[in-house]
Point group: C2
Chain length 290, copies 2
Amino acid sequence: MSASFIALDWGTTRLRGWLIAPDGSVQDAISSDEGIQVVEAGGFAALLRARLAPWLARDAAVPIWMAGMVGSRNGWIEVPYVSTPCSAADLRRGALRHELDGHDVWLVPGVSTRSDDGFFDVMRGEETLALGAGVSEGLICQPGTHSKWIEMRDGVIVSFATFITGEIYAAMSASFIARLAATPENPEPGAREGRIAAQARGGVLRGLFQARARVLDGALPAASVKPFISSLLVAEEMAGARQLYGSRLPTLIAAPPHDGLYAAALGAGVGVVNPQHALLEGLKRIRAAA
Amino acid sequence: MSASFIALDWGTTRLRGWLIAPDGSVQDAISSDEGIQVVEAGGFAALLRARLAPWLARDAAVPIWMAGMVGSRNGWIEVPYVSTPCSAADLRRGALRHELDGHDVWLVPGVSTRSDDGFFDVMRGEETLALGAGVSEGLICQPGTHSKWIEMRDGVIVSFATFITGEIYAAMSASFIARLAATPENPEPGAREGRIAAQARGGVLRGLFQARARVLDGALPAASVKPFISSLLVAEEMAGARQLYGSRLPTLIAAPPHDGLYAAALGAGVGVVNPQHALLEGLKRIRAAA
């Protein structure tokens, strides 16, 4: 049976691939921790050949479409950013075509934006999920190491902003305030304290010290330190996003544990799209764009 | 020649000591990286005996006064916090007396506070410097891993707040945005960009990503990433402190590199007190308090 295309999400820490049937369904899938950070320069083609061998052998013409950091300066081939406003057709035109043993390999470009306050911003991978989320008007929030808030208008990415919520959380988890903290069975009490602390005066640098002070005070169990920190940081991200985009509710593209954490912060009624679904729909849409 | 007392600043990462003459001058000094984090439980007395042997031998009665994390749960002997409002006499009354080979050893307590928004806060060591800074009315700022803003009224510590500016900076320096960045010869261009970015909408989690985006944009030299991050974080601390204490200018207790960084953020006219001076004056004042 011939396939329609191979979809790849090749990011910093993971390589994930799907063999897509002509009817759009997933025929097969792979996943590994061979993100671009562990691939040596010059090693991308060989790794791809090895991991995709059965799929490539079945169909000598099947093309490969990939999104993510594989197109960055530290990836396989650097693909220049496309600037906002950016449609599926713009990404299609900006995609870089390469060749691997007779197969067309397409690398989707990242997107850059410049906001009216002079901030420059970039993303690689999230643009593809945004176009596959089924949101033509409104906001999209993609939590992660670098959370992206993306504004869609008439199916086009018009602006976006990055918040380094996940990077700060990871750094704090390794730092001494949270280093020894366990992960609690029930994160909600700590999360609730974190959301309350986020409301107080003094900003996030003051709020974060409460992760230590409230434990000394007996008000926060030591096991609740990590949910306290994560919910405080998410609340800080929400407050920042509201300054940029107002109080409109975004659509979340998120899987566990981010979906629950962000849904709790955004409140009931928020729509959640599965990231894998959004990626595959996004690649199909970019491929099909004129 | 007999001494008046031995002053110790025994913190998490450093042990520093001074032999103080009856006229208040420093006769001798020691310094090592034997902070409490490297001292095994039960090893404090032996370490002190070894490091202070020449001073203790010269004067069989000289007392030892110490401030800092040595009085914490992870230190030598835990000394309960004294709560605000807190004077030199309150710290004198709260000090814990121990005995080492016939010498009186006094451990100055830390201070706790509870602000009207329900935040609990603690410090150990900074209270002693605050009382020795010569500020009887007004604000004091002590930059560090955990920056302290301390409000003095009539010579008494009435409230304070902690900002984890230094901890976040250290965590960011080890994290991937800044991991590979060099330290520039001239930090000012990066610092200026950081102060500007701190003014923009979206908060500090958005601002910090600019350390990466502006390098990609060519607007920020890669070597300026660390001064960009540090000045952005200091600006965030300042904004938080203004929310708590208004726009009053604090007195800085700081040594390089914090003094220059914070003075640049606070503007011309800020008073700077040397930390060693403040510590010794603070211990003298607590010792002498009725």
